[in-house]
C-alpha cells in the first residue's frame, strides 16, 4: 500500500517535471528554429535601413520606430485608464450589481479577439474621430486592447497591498486619496508595471488589428508626429513572409529575432521588477 503511494509520488513528480520541461523545450525549439533561419541576415544595416524591394538593402528601421511610437503612446493611456479603473473597483466601488457588471465586462473584454478591436478602432478612431490611419489611431486601438489585462493586473497589485499599510496611513491622519497616492500606489507600482509590461509585450506582437486600422507596410521615413502614417514590426514581418522571393523569408526570420529580443528585454524588466517587489512586504 505505502509502496504504491511512494511509486505514485515519484512517478507524478517526474510527470510534472516533464510537463514543465515540455514548455521550456518548445521555447528552445522555437528559438533555435528562428535563429537558424534569421541569423545570417541579421546585421546593423538591417536595423538601420528602411524597407526596400531589394532584399540586400531592406531593413526594419521604420517598423522598429513605428512599434516604439505605438507602444510609447499606448503605454501611458493604458496605464492611466487601467490604474484608474482598478483603483475605482478596488478602493471606491461598492460591491453592487453595477460593479459586478464592470468586472464581468472586463474579463469578457480580455477574451475578445484582437481583430474585433481593429474593427472598432477603424470605425471609432480612424473614421469618427478623423485621426486617419495614424500612429495615434493605432495606439488608441491598442490601448483598448490591452486595457482589460492592465486593469486585472493592477487590481491584483492593489489588492496585494496589505491592509495594515493603509491603516498606518489613516492613523497618521491621511485622507483616503492621500493614502492611495502616498501608500497604495507606490506599493503597488512594481506589480502594476509588471502587468503593464506583460500586456505591452502582447501588444507589440499584434498584427491583425493594426492592419485593419490601416497601418502601412512599406514606409520609408521615420515618424515624427503622432498623426504620421506608420508600420510595425509584425506587419513588416508578415508581409516579407508572403513575398515570393526566398531572401525575404530570411529577412522575416531576422525581423522575428529583433522582435523576440525586444520582447525578452521587456520580460526581463518585468521579472526584475517582480523580484524586487516580492521581497517587499
Amino acid at each position: 500500500m505505502t509502496k504504491l503511494r511512494k511509486i505514485k509520488d515519484v512517478f507524478f513528480k517526474w510527470l510534472f517535471f516533464a510537463a514543465t520541461a515540455f514548455g521550456m523545450l518548445s521555447l528552445v525549439v522555437l528559438v533555435v528554429d528562428i535563429l537558424y533561419q534569421g541569423l545570417p541576415r541579421l546585421s546593423w544595416e538591417f536595423i538601420t535601413n528602411f524597407p526596400s524591394f531589394n532584399p540586400d538593402k531592406a531593413g526594419i528601421k521604420a517598423a522598429i520606430l513605428g512599434s516604439v511610437w505605438v507602444i510609447g503612446l499606448t503605454a501611458p493611456m493604458a496605464l492611466f485608464l487601467g490604474v484608474a479603473t482598478a483603483l475605482y473597483l478596488e478602493e471606491y466601488a461598492k460591491k453592487n450589481w453595477f460593479t459586478r457588471l464592470i468586472q464581468t465586462n472586463i474579463s469578457n473584454l480580455a477574451g475578445v479577439p484582437s481583430i474585433i478591436y481593429g474593427i472598432l478602432g477603424l470605425a471609432l478612431f480612424v473614421r469618427a474621430m478623423k485621426l486617419g490611419p495614424s500612429i495615434l489611431a493605432g495606439a488608441f486601438t491598442m490601448a483598448l486592447l490591452v486595457l482589460p489585462i492592465v486593469v486585472v493586473a493592477a487590481q491584483e497589485a492593489i489588492r496585494a497591498v496589505p491592509q495594515t499599510l493603509r491603516h498606518g496611513a489613516y492613523a497618521l491622519g491621511a485622507s483616503k486619496w492621500q493614502t492611495i497616492r502616498g501608500i497604495v500606489l507606490p506599493s503597488a507600482a512594481p506589480g502594476i508595471l509588471t502587468g503593464m509590461i506583460l500586456s505591452l509585450s502582447r501588444a507589440i506582437g499584434e498584427t491583425a488589428p493594426l492592419v485593419v486600422v490601416g497601418a502601412f507596410v512599406f514606409v520609408r521615413f521615420a515618424p515624427t508626429d503622432p498623426l504620421d502614417k506608420f508600420t510595425v514590426l509584425p506587419i513588416q514581418i508578415y508581409s516579407w513572409v508572403s513575398q515570393p522571393k526566398a531572401a525575404f523569408h530570411e529577412l522575416a526570420a531576422s525581423g522575428i529575432i529583433v522582435l523576440l529580443i525586444v520582447l525578452l528585454l521587456m520580460n526581463a524588466t518585468a521579472v526584475l521588477l517582480r523580484n524586487k517587489y516580492q521581497k517587499r512586504f
Partner: protein, 317 residues
C-alpha cells in the same frame, strides 16, 4: 537649394516651360515636390508598387510614398472614402465601389501595370502530365466536380488520388481563375486545400507527389526548382504553351494571363506629388514589373495607358 527658393515665385507659365526643357532640368524640378502618397490594396501588385515607390523617393526625397498590403477589397474600402490616393488591384474595380466612391467625390482612373500569369503546377516528380486543356481543368475545378483520381481527368493517368491546392477564396487570383476556367467567377469546387499564403501552396504541391495547384507566376518562378509548371493548351491554337514572359507578352499563354492594375483617384491626382508618382510609375512599369517577377505589357499597351493618364491629368487642370 536655388530652385527651391525660386519655386514660390515661379508662375504657372514658367512651370509649363520648365516641363518642356531637358530631362536633367526636369529632375531637379521634381525635387521640390513634397507631401505624401498613400497606397493600399492587393498584395499581388504590392511588389511592383514598392519598387516604383522606392525609386521615386530616391529622386524625390521630399515625398513619402507609403504602401499598405491590405488585399484589393480592403484597399478599396479605404480608397473609396479618400483615405488613400491609389489602390493596387488584382481584380477590376466593382460598380458598387465606383458608386460608393462617387458619394465621397472620388473617381477612379484605371491603369494596367503588368500581366500576372496564373500558373498551374504539379509536383516535380510528376512525370505523366505534359499539358492540360481548359476543359480538363474545368472538369477538375468546377463545383460538384466528380474528379477524385488523376485517371478521372485523362485516361491513362494513374489511379491516384489528386490533391488540390488553390489560393484563398477571397483573392483576386481565385476570382480570375474560376472566371477563366469554370466560366463563372468564384464558382469552384470547395473540397480543396486553400491558403492565403502562396508560399504555403508552393510547399503543399512540392511535398505531395500527386498534387495539383495554381497561383501567380512569380511564386512559380522563384520555386521552379521545386515545382513543375503545366503547359496549358491555348483554346484557339490548340497548342500547349508553357507560361513564360514571351508567351504571356505575345498573348499565346491563354487564358490564364491576367492584367493587374493601379487605381489612382482623380482627386488625388490633383496633388502634384501623386501625379508625379503615377507618371513615374507608368513610365518605368515595364522594368519594375520584370524586376518583381511579373510580365510587362507590350510597349504599345503602356503607351495607351500613359496617354490615358496624360489626358486625365490635363482634364484635371
Amino acid at each position: 537649394g536655388q530652385n527651391a527658393q525660386q519655386a514660390p515665385t515661379a508662375s504657372a507659365g514658367d512651370q509649363a516651360n520648365n516641363a518642356a526643357q531637358a530631362p536633367a532640368e526636369q529632375e531637379e524640378k521634381t525635387e521640390e515636390l513634397s507631401g505624401e502618397v498613400l497606397i493600399a490594396g492587393s498584395s499581388t501588385v504590392y511588389p511592383i508598387t514598392i519598387i516604383a515607390a522606392e525609386k521615386f523617393m530616391e529622386e524625390n526625397p521630399g515625398v513619402n510614398v507609403s504602401v499598405a498590403s491590405t488585399g484589393t477589397g480592403g484597399g478599396f474600402k479605404k480608397w473609396q472614402v479618400g483615405e488613400t490616393d491609389i489602390n493596387n488591384a488584382s481584380s477590376k474595380i466593382k460598380d458598387s465601389v465606383i458608386e460608393e466612391a462617387k458619394k465621397h467625390g472620388i473617381e477612379p482612373l484605371e491603369l494596367t501595370v503588368a500581366y500576372d500569369a496564373l500558373t498551374v503546377v504539379v509536383n516535380k516528380e510528376n512525370d505523366f502530365v505534359d499539358s492540360m486543356t481548359v476543359e480538363e481543368l474545368k472538369k477538375i475545378w468546377e463545383p460538384n466536380s466528380t474528379v477524385k483520381l488523376w485517371s478521372d481527368v485523362r485516361e491513362g493517368w494513374p489511379k491516384e488520388e489528386i490533391k488540390l491546392y488553390g489560393p484563398g477564396t477571397d483573392s483576386g487570383t481565385f476570382e480570375y481563375f474560376t472566371e477563366q476556367i469554370v466560366g463563372e467567377a468564384k464558382s469552384s469546387r470547395t473540397d480543396y486545400t486553400p491558403s492565403e499564403d502562396d508560399n504555403v501552396l508552393v510547399q503543399g504541391v512540392a511535398g505531395d507527389k500527386y498534387s495539383l495547384g495554381y497561383f501567380g507566376y512569380a511564386y512559380y518562378a522563384e520555386n521552379s526548382d521545386k515545382l513543375k509548371a503545366v503547359p496549358i493548351v491555348n483554346p484557339e491554337t490548340k497548342e500547349a504553351v508553357m507560361p513564360s514572359d514571351e508567351a504571356i507578352e505575345n498573348g499565346t499563354y491563354k487564358p490564364l494571363g491576367r492584367e493587374i492594375w493601379i487605381y489612382p483617384s482623380k482627386q488625388a491626382l490633383k496633388k502634384p506629388q501623386v501625379a508625379a508618382f503615377v507618371k513615374f510609375y507608368m513610365e518605368n512599369a515595364a522594368e519594375y514589373a520584370k524586376e518583381a517577377g511579373y510580365t510587362p505589357l507590350p510597349a504599345e499597351k503602356y503607351d495607351v495607358e500613359r496617354k490615358e493618364l496624360e489626358e486625365a491629368l490635363k482634364a484635371l487642370q
